[in-house]
Amino acid sequence: MKQYTRTHEWVEIRDGKAYVGISGHAAEELGEVVYVDLPETGAAVTAGEPGCELESVKAVAEVNSPASGTVAEVNEELADAPEKAGETWIFAVAPYVLQEDLMSEAEYTLFVG
């Protein structure tokens, strides 16, 4: 089940890893993503701080990691298909410690209005 941050990322635990992506709301706001600056596997990330960057035609957006830990996997598919960044996971963290104030999908829906 996905949980959400106030900065519009989601995190979902599967197979012991915390998979991270951006919400549909964030994807809509950002517009077509044309470049994903994927983190390196093995890099350390900190909850609430930027884990990678997405660039649309008009803007660059930082994806904050909802979890602290080590990047265990990155979605290489996005290197060649960056436009899918709003529809899939971007990187996964393991081992991970989730940030504390995550919202459920229902809470997030209310949050973005």
């Binding site: 470049y35 600056d37 660039e55 649309s56 035609v57 008009k58």
Partner: protein, 354 residues
């Protein structure tokens, strides 16, 4: 206070994402920048550019008086011709860049950037002598129809003759029943037209274009696509490549700076200034996007800054225009948030007309 153009309700109804630009609420995009960009390169797009300003210079002394405020030479233009010029300040920078339309020997229309209307009008009032001047920006709406199918689409709505050559115009053309001035000009690098008419007529012109153009691939386009298109076309944008403190002989627009003509405001300063910088086009050699205000390095030394940059939808890579020191021969790098992206110099425009 943000204003609205006469087409505001149309933009909202068409799903435009509205932003503040040049004091107006204008759409940055409708369906998406990439799709709108592609439509203009392959078929056609229509843009609301009513934020642009229009000035009239009138009277027997108009040509001479206006020429004294411009870097380009407008003497001897034929009626119905358009000429690009810079509007220089006394120290040799640019107050604005403009298009000059010669309606007749005693009447010139000058089109200025929307964000600069008030500043330009004050500048003109301070320095103009010998002819009449009127700022008609608030009475005039403007839309641009751009792309290879523009003529085919627009001609179905026109009674009269469309301008045949680039940088010419026709007055009193009837477009969808509205009286308009139509020029063969634009800011995309494609064939196309710019249509000027009264605020109260623009909605019917716009609606007619969408209706007749819709089946021919025409889509409404926003400011986002306007910027990616002009950047691919290597066209400067005021506030980016041009500004009050950027000497006009450092911006790659020497075709529009005629030091040999009769004296004009700023001429002495321009003539006395040896160009130290130049405008250069680059593409990002790998992945990544260089936007404006990135520092540019060569051989470990800072040599300039990026003035505009984006992802080129046509080329599928990052492109940028730089202001760098003249004579720098080494490989160029852009500092993008701490990463050094390698750049490759390319001639402008990035994308030529088919």
């Amino acid at each position: 206070m943000t204003e609205r153009t006469a087409l505001y309700e149309r933009h909202v109804a068409l799903g435009g994402r509205m932003v503040e630009f040049a004091g107006y609420e204008l759409p940055v995009q409708y369906s998406g920048i990439l799709e709108e960009h592609r439509a203009v390169r392959e078929a056609a797009g229509v843009f609301d550019v009513s934020h642009m300003g229009e000035f009239l210079f009138t009277g027997a002394g108009a040509e001479q008086a206006l020429n004294a405020l411009l870097t380009n030479d407008i003497r001897g233009m034929a009626d119905g011709r358009v000429r690009y010029s810079l509007l220089p300040n006394e120290k040799g920078g640019a107050v604005d860049d403009v298009l000059v339309y010669r309606i007749n020997a005693e009447k010139f229309l000058v089109v200025v950037n929307g964000a600069n209307v008030a500043k330009d009008a004050a500048h003109v009032r301070e320095h103009l002598s010998g002819c009449g001047f009127e700022d008609i920006s608030r009475q005039v709406s403007q839309i641009a129809v751009q792309g290879p199918r523009s003529e085919e689409i627009l001609s179905t709505l026109v009674t009269g003759v469309l301008p045949a050559k680039y940088y010419t115009f026709t007055e009193r053309v009837s477009v969808a029943g509205a009286e308009a001035l139509v020029s063969r000009t634009g800011y995309t690098g494609e064939d196309g037209f710019e249509i000027y008419c009264a605020n109260e007529d623009i909605v019917k012109v716009y609606d007619a274009l969408l209706e007749t153009g819709g089946g021919r691939g025409l889509v409404p386009c926003g400011l986002g696509a306007r910027d990616t298109l002009r950047l691919e076309a290597g066209m400067p944008l005021y506030g980016h490549e041009l500004g009050e403190d950027i000497p006009v002989n450092e911006v790659g627009l020497d075709f529009a700076v005629k030091l040999g003509k009769e004296d004009f405001l700023g001429r002495a300063a321009i003539a006395a200034h040896a160009p130290a910088y130049e405008r250069v086009g680059v593409r990002v050699a790998g992945r990544g996007i260089v936007r404006e205000h990135c520092d540019i390095y060569a051989d470990g030394e800072k040599v300039g800054v990026s003035t505009s940059g984006t992802h080129s939808p046509t080329l599928g890579c990052g492109i940028a225009m730089l202001r760098v020191k003249r004579g720098v021969a080494g490989a160029l790098f852009a500092d993008v948030r701490g990463r050094m992206l390698p750049l490759e110099r390319v001639p402008l425009p990035f994308v030529g007309r088919k």
